[in-house]
């Protein structure tokens, strides 16, 4: 791809991007959200047409008019949000649109056999090709998508944030699979916010910034700080700032019979690590009263809590959901409505609210958190993920929460926004006047190690004692999380 340009109205999404992909190579595409990665990949996969620029595949000029032409020319995409038809069988999904025919009828026997063969070649012959694809786990559905791309004869496969919804063990298997594909001579473009993944998988990387490709590096030859600096266009001194933390009284005590107990003090950040599905999120949600766990006991400030979200907000407990779109935010509504929702009665008297108060309250957080937007009345669905997440956290502060329960607070957001959120967390727990307490769940170990004071592990629903961060490391946490 050379000199690719694309503008939407007055907004220039790509201002001249070049990318060169070698056979058998795993090539990383990194950049902040909004840098143009998805637009570029949509052009490559035929969903958009570039305004100018040229593309070649195998030395032949390539200008797909739509995604199916792109696939015929050997370019397949595995999107972050998987695109399987849940009610169709695995085999039908793999051959969707390219069903083997027997005259007018679909040759089901051949389809099943071929599907099975492809899955076996990926080391997943155990997936039943007759099962409805919706019954599979997310990681298996991803395998089905990869099998679909292979069945179509794709030589170039683009992975867009493929690990965001996978558990650690599945991530490892996916990486092995990507290695295998590359060894077979396929070329892979790998998009990820996780630099560890880029290191583990890729041989070269292209950095995008503001719609232009700013640099190409051998992955081995560049360190993380340099990658981040290239992405954001400036030096990031310390991704995980950590001021001196002073512990105050215990604010929260949560006990689950037969499992364990967790305490959280004013002025500290406690992390919950564990595999996806191990019960960390359920634990956090149970504390907040969104899920129920039999016999759990939550004390806030030493007092027993009846647990429903409403009374929790009143007890200065706040929760950020791991799922921004489906639970965290009301996307049609304005930033102001979203930020002020739990504490609307603050904005006026006897059930009335003043829109100007709402704007003022919201504007404060917009400035404080550096939320990039047009103003408090803009609909929150138009913001980037990082800015949405900042607003989701601002909601807790607007409601005067002392205890912040954060479920995957940096999922799917770019590195600059992550840095901002780490900075905010550090600032909140070390506030000299009113230090907060933070309990956060994360699948991303470097983040937990960087941000937390203590880390507890959840393994198959069992909660371990929280360990000071100085006494642990990724390997120890991983072992605890997998129960070894």
């Amino acid at each position: 791809m050379r000199g690719i340009k694309k503008a939407f109205g007055a907004q220039v999404a790509l201002a001249g991007v070049s990318l060169k992909l070698l056979p058998g190579e795993v090539h990383a595409l990194v950049g902040e959200n909004g840098a143009g990665k998805s637009t570029l990949m949509k052009i490559l996969s035929g969903a958009y047409q570039p305004d100018s620029g040229e593309m070649w595949v195998d030395g032949k000029s390539y200008a797909p008019a739509n995604p199916s032409e792109a696939r015929r020319r050997g370019v397949g995409m595995i999107y972050q949000e998987l695109s399987i038809a849940p009610h169709l069988s695995v085999a039908e999904n793999i051959f969707l649109g390219i069903e083997p025919r027997n005259g007018l009828l679909i040759d089901h026997a051949k389809m099943r056999a071929e599907a099975n063969k492809t899955l076996s070649s990926l080391g997943h012959g155990n997936i039943d090709v007759n099962e409805p694809a919706g019954e599979l786990s997310v990681s298996q559905q991803q395998i089905v998508e990869i099998a679909r791309a292979l069945s179509m004869g794709c030589k170039i496969i683009v992975f867009d944030e493929p690990t965001s919804s996978l558990a650690q063990a599945d991530v490892e298997r996916l990486f092995d699979l990507i290695d295998t594909l590359a060894k077979r001579g396929l070329s892979i473009i790998y998009i990820s916010h996780f630099l560890e993944e880029v290191r583990r998988l890729t041989s070269r990387l292209t950095i995008l910034r503001d719609g232009a490709s700013v640099a190409v590096y051998e992955t081995k030859s560049i360190d993380d700080a340099k990658i981040v600096a290239e992405m954001v266009g400036r030096e990031v001194k310390d991704l995980y700032p950590r001021s001196q933390r002073t512990l105050g009284p215990v604010l929260l005590e949560a006990t689950i019979p037969g499992s364990g107990k967790l305490t959280l003090r004013r002025g500290e950040v406690v992390g919950l690590c564990g595999l996806v599905g191990a019960g960390r999120t359920e634990f956090l949600r149970a504390i907040f009263g969104l899920d129920t766990i039999e016999g759990k006991n939550v004390l806030v400030n030493g007092a027993q809590k009846t647990s429903d979200p409403r009374s929790n907000w009143q007890a200065h407990l706040g929760f950020v959901s791991e799922n921004r779109k489906e639970e965290g935010l009301a996307l049609d509504l304005s930033i102001g409505d979203n930020v002020c929702l739990p504490a609307l009665s603050k904005l006026g008297k006897v059930g009335f609210i003043s829109p100007s108060q709402r704007s003022q309250h919201t504007a404060r957080w917009i400035t404080d958190f550096g939320i990039r937007c047009q103003g408090p009345d803009q609909s929150i669905g138009n913001l980037s993920g990082g800015n949405q997440q900042k607003a989701a956290i601002a909601r807790l502060l607007e409601a005067d929460c002392d205890i912040l329960l954060l479920d995957e607070p940096t999922r799917g957001i770019d590195i600059a926004a992550k840095a901002k959120i780490y900075e905010v967390i550090n600032r909140l727990v070390t506030d000299p006047k009113n230090p907060k307490a933070v309990l956060m769940v994360s699948s991303y170990l470097p983040e937990l190690l960087g941000v937390c004071d203590r880390i507890a592990t959840v393994c198959r629903g069992q909660l371990s004692e929280a360990v000071p961060v100085a006494e642990t490391n990724s390997e120890k946490l991983m072992r605890a999380a997998t129960g070894n």
């Binding site: 429903d308 979200p309 935010l329 009301a330 409505d337 929702l341 059930g351 103003g375």
Partner: protein
């Protein structure tokens, strides 16, 4: 910067208004100028008030991501209740109160089914559509109840007497505008109103943020019921009778009015004045067709086509934003 946003919102609602003027102008241009005359406008207002008041309640319901298919039956039942009381010579204040309470109870019943029994609003109100219609027929002995002589009730939507021409439109029209202003205030400037938007936009978020989701929905259906009751009284005022078989299809008219007015059936979006303009559009088409001698069958086809077009244009516009 936030000004551009509110300007855009105003322009969006203006779009529906422009459509209204255009349709009205079209009928004027068709040659029959009756639609522009005082009588034509009065007739449009009389019909709009009945649907428009119901559409105000429907706007609350649709913003909360609900639906009420039984509004037409509720209007009919309440018109029977109101007419019976009025004919019996009951004090106007008591008549109005009892009718509104009937509407509130209808809403409470629907709301409880939705909230407690966790039934889908579409199915629930498909059921209450039949139940309420049945109740109306039973209460009225399947006969219209003549309330021609209830002057205090007739006053609202009758033609204006000469000494009251300064009102320009019948008092019921002004009542509708006042109610719309109140409802807009509630939706925009109260905690409850913002909760209605939050529940409709994303129920999970609302629950997470401590919004009493069930209570909010219950209130929304009760508000819908109360407005249906008022709409029923206006129907009696307009037609001079409480008709147990009347108001058929008004649920669809009011839903169409709300949707033409820019609301989303997925919830979270909608405006009272948009809905009123939607109601006006529907009645202008009807009246215009009648005045121009267009047959009933063609009128229906035109109305349907305009509803679909209006909504399609609106969606295209939103996509381009």
């Amino acid at each position: 910067m936030s000004n551009t946003n509110s300007t855009k919102k105003i322009l969006n609602s203006l779009g529906t208004f422009i459509a209204l003027v255009a349709i009205w102008g079209l009928f004027l241009g068709l040659g029959n100028s009756a639609i522009g005359s005082a009588e034509g406008i009065e007739s449009i207002v009389q019909q709009t008030v009945v649907i428009g008041i119901a559409a105000i309640g429907m706007t609350f319901i649709i913003i909360s991501a609900g639906i009420d298919l039984s509004i037409g039956s509720a209007i009919a039942l309440c018109s029977v209740v109101g007419a019976k009381l009025a004919v019996a010579g009951t004090n106007p204040f008591v008549t109005v109160s009892v009718t509104i309470i009937s509407g509130l109870l209808i809403g409470l019943f629907i709301g409880l089914l939705v909230v407690r029994a966790k039934l889908i609003p579409f199915i629930t109100t498909l059921g209450t559509l039949l139940i309420l219609r049945g109740l109306a027929l039973a209460l009225a002995n399947s006969q219209p109840i003549n309330a021609q002589d209830a002057n205090w009730l007739r006053f609202w939507l009758n033609s204006l007497p000469d000494d009251m021409k300064f009102l320009i439109i019948p008092p019921g029209g002004w009542l509708m505008i006042v109610l719309a202003l109140l409802a807009t205030g509630v939706l925009r400037f109260t905690v409850f109103g913002r909760h209605v938007f939050a529940v409709g936009s994303n129920e999970n978020t609302a629950r997470l943020c401590g919004v009493a989701v069930d209570r909010t929905k219950l209130f929304v259906y009760m508000i819908g019921g109360a407005f249906a009751a008022l709409s029923g009284l206006m129907l009696v005022s307009y037609q001079g009778q409480g008709d147990p078989t009347g108001a058929t299809g008004y649920e669809l008219d009011s839903i169409a009015a709300v949707v033409i007015g820019g609301a989303s059936l997925n919830g979270g979006i909608g405006s009272i004045f948009g809905s009123l303009i939607g109601a006006l559009i529907i009645t202008v088409i009807r009246t215009g067709c009648t005045l121009n001698g267009i047959s009933e069958s063609t009128t229906r086809i035109i109305t349907g086509a305009i509803i679909v077009t209006a909504v399609a244009i609106d969606r295209l516009r939103q996509r381009s934003n």
